[in-house]
């Protein structure tokens, strides 16, 4: 999929390197999980969940830690695909599909373009801010609080339900028809924003001025 993009040649190597790292990282997890599955300590969905979570979190860590921003961007792809897998586990195929299409197909490409057009073309390696240790502390504490509260809550062990796609469509386009319209306007606004900023302002103004005068 990436070979169609006008990327620098180092990308080939990057993809291979990243894939290898991920594979190496995931193998031990895979082995442990497989063992647990075999001795019936976990069920198949749980197996998939833990595997997907491990990949997802590992690659998310890559997004925020990698020095090479191209590697970070590729990690983001893996993370978002992992999120799609989680959606599948939550029995929502449609959203998983949207996730893959919108993110894998759209957002990440957009971000890669952004990277190419800014610093990546000269120097793909970035340094992080000086508040990194504090950032780690705060983020870890927040994660701790959130996890503690998630484990503390008593939800009364509900069961996940499959939502039929036609019901979802009815809900989306009938009950929530107004938000669909609003979000259309929102996309339009975002488009306008990207347009007015990406276009050279002085050139645009000059063109307008000439047309008027």
């Amino acid at each position: 999929m990436f070979d169609r993009l006008p990327l620098p040649s180092q990308f080939d190597r990057t993809i291979i390197a990243g894939g290898t790292v991920l594979l190496l990282g995931a193998t031990p997890v895979l082995v442990v999980l497989a063992a647990l599955l075999v001795v019936d300590r976990i069920t198949a969905p749980e197996f998939v969940f833990f595997l997907a979570s491990a990949v997802l979190l590992a690659s998310a860590a890559g997004v925020v830690l990698m020095k090479n921003i191209v590697h970070a961007a590729l990690c983001l792809v893996v993370t978002l695909l992992g999120v799609a897998a989680i959606y599948l586990l939550l029995l929502t195929e449609f959203l998983a599909l949207v996730q893959v299409l919108v993110y894998g197909g759209g957002v990440v490409i957009l971000l890669l373009f952004g990277l190419m057009m800014t610093n990546a073309q000269d120097d793909p390696v970035v340094t992080d801010g000086s508040q990194k240790p504090f950032a780690f502390g705060v983020a870890a504490l927040i994660a701790g609080v959130f996890i503690a509260m998630a484990l503390d809550a008593q939800w009364g062990s509900p069961e996940a339900a499959i939502i039929p796609l036609p019901d979802f469509g009815a809900r989306l386009f009938r009950d929530f028809s107004l938000p669909v319209v609003i979000v259309a306007v929102l996309l339009d606004i975002a488009f306008t924003g990207a347009f007015v900023n990406a276009r050279r302002a002085d050139a645009a103004s000059a063109a307008r001025g000439e047309a008027r005068s």
Binding site: G129, Q131, F134, A135, V138, A139, L141, I142, V145, M149
Partner: protein, 640 residues
Amino acid sequence: MGMQFGMEQVWVLPAIPAVLFVVLALLNPLIPRRGDFLAALGMATVVALVFVVMKDYASVFHGGEFAPEGKNAFSFDWVNIGQGFFTIQFSTFVDGITMVMLPVVTIVATMVIVYSIGYMHGEVRYGWYFAVLCLFVSAMLTLVVAGNLIQLYLAWEGVGLASYLLIGFYWERQSAAEAAKKAFITTRIGDVGLLIGIILLWRATGTFDIQGIIEAAKNHEIGEKYLTVSMLFLFMGAVGKSAQFPLHVWLPDAMEGPTPVSALIHAATMVVAGVYLVARFSPVYAEVLVARDVILYTGLITAVMAASMGLVSSDIKRVLAYSTVSQLGFMFVALGSGAVTAAMFHLFTHAFFKALLFLGSGSVIHATHKQEVESLGGLHRKMPFTAAVFSIGSLALAGIPIFAGFWSKDEILHETLNEAPIAVYVILAGTAMLTAIYTTRLVLLTFFGAPRDHHAFDHAHESPIIMNAPLAILAVLATVSGFFVFDQVGKALGFPGGIGANVFLEHAHHFTEPDYAFASVATLMSLMGIGIGYAYWHGDAKRAVAARGWAPDLHALLVNRYYMDNLYQGIINRVILGAGSLIAWFDKKVVNETGVDGGAQTVSYLGYRLKFLQTGRIPNYAFGMALGVLVLAIVAIGNA
């Protein structure tokens, strides 16, 4: 006509100058003479109406019908919202305290406006000056007749605004601009207290109506501690406006304004608003003695401090300003001793003689363009009339019998002796003597002795009649206004009695003849003060040189004032002047620079430190947000 003018229509009094303000401010260039005569005529009309109102007040009394609710004269709902959430009425309230304030404000204002026609002649923004004076009078009258606290607060801020505009009248001068700002902000600190006090009282009683609040307090509907705190906050407003320690620092600086303004606003009327406020709530203060003690000692500290600073100040207007602060301290001492009548009486007489003194000093400044007493002297030869009236004012201030100040100060001292610890009386009496000393010094250095600045002296001249006429009227008032203490005088004028009988009809304080023994002691103190002042500051070198020739020994004795002078000098130099300088230093360094300016600087410095949190970097900002979330989350979870 059909309608009889009286207490019911008292709202007309502030309305007239308000209309004048609008007319003068908007149409100024169109009116001949920039409208100065309009302001004077308007104020004269108000004075006439005040007398009509007073007549009405006296007649109601004679009818014997004066139920307290009958005094609430005029009201309409100004704000009435939220299904009884709250109502603010615009209402007027008239009683004996109002009856003291109304003539003071209107008469002094009229005198000042007439005087200003001469004094401000040819000045910049001549018309605007009169417009703002009218604004001030309107706000002050609103304050005096206000029936509820919101109205009172609005008027309170209104007089503050007018004062700000007038202190900063010569705003091209940096010092005037700074003084105006200082006055505005310092008094606003007091206003914060006032507003909090008002809100607290509203919280407890559900009303802004002054009489309603007083009734509620008297019926013990408000907890004592709560009431004490509220009343102390209310007093904070008075401290700011009436320039009491430690918020007194703005008043001497306020002398940057035109001198007639100092006479009207910073001597006779606005600065007594605090006294008026406390007097208005005196029935409540009678319930909270702790608050009353605070008032007493605040007044006492202020009286002593300001008097001793008056002793060493060399600017004629600043001496008078310190004197004003000190005399206001006397009034608060009276209020703190529960002697509301004495305080109101002193307010009444002080307004006239202090206005006289300020306008007199204005004439001196007008004639010589000098304010430093060190460079004046001998002016009685050039300005005999001014010297005469100024002396009358000074005698009144020093507390010499028959002059107005004597009667009122005597009342205060008398009440203090009866109602307060003996030490308070002793200190206050000492302060009265100090008053006589610095007054004498001021008169001697300004009008007597040899001229020290010949250029200024040569150009000095007597003021025009338009300035002297108000001085003459005020001189008469400074002499006779003290007699209103006598029931006989009040009755002769158709009132139920003297001021003592008028202020509180229910609890009249009758006064028919002075306590001669007590009065003699006070008079003696004042005379001693004058004597000390005279001994120390009188005379000039020439007379002494001439006398030396024919009897050197005698001369030595005389010129050294029987060598008593050395003793005096030693005492005065080392003790009194030293203390005065020390207090002045304390005031400048500690109260003014460390306390008031320092407070402002501390606040400003905090802002300076805090602004560096704003580093301009996105990750730092996000960090602030995350930290906020974390702290809130941890506290929230621990908050179970």
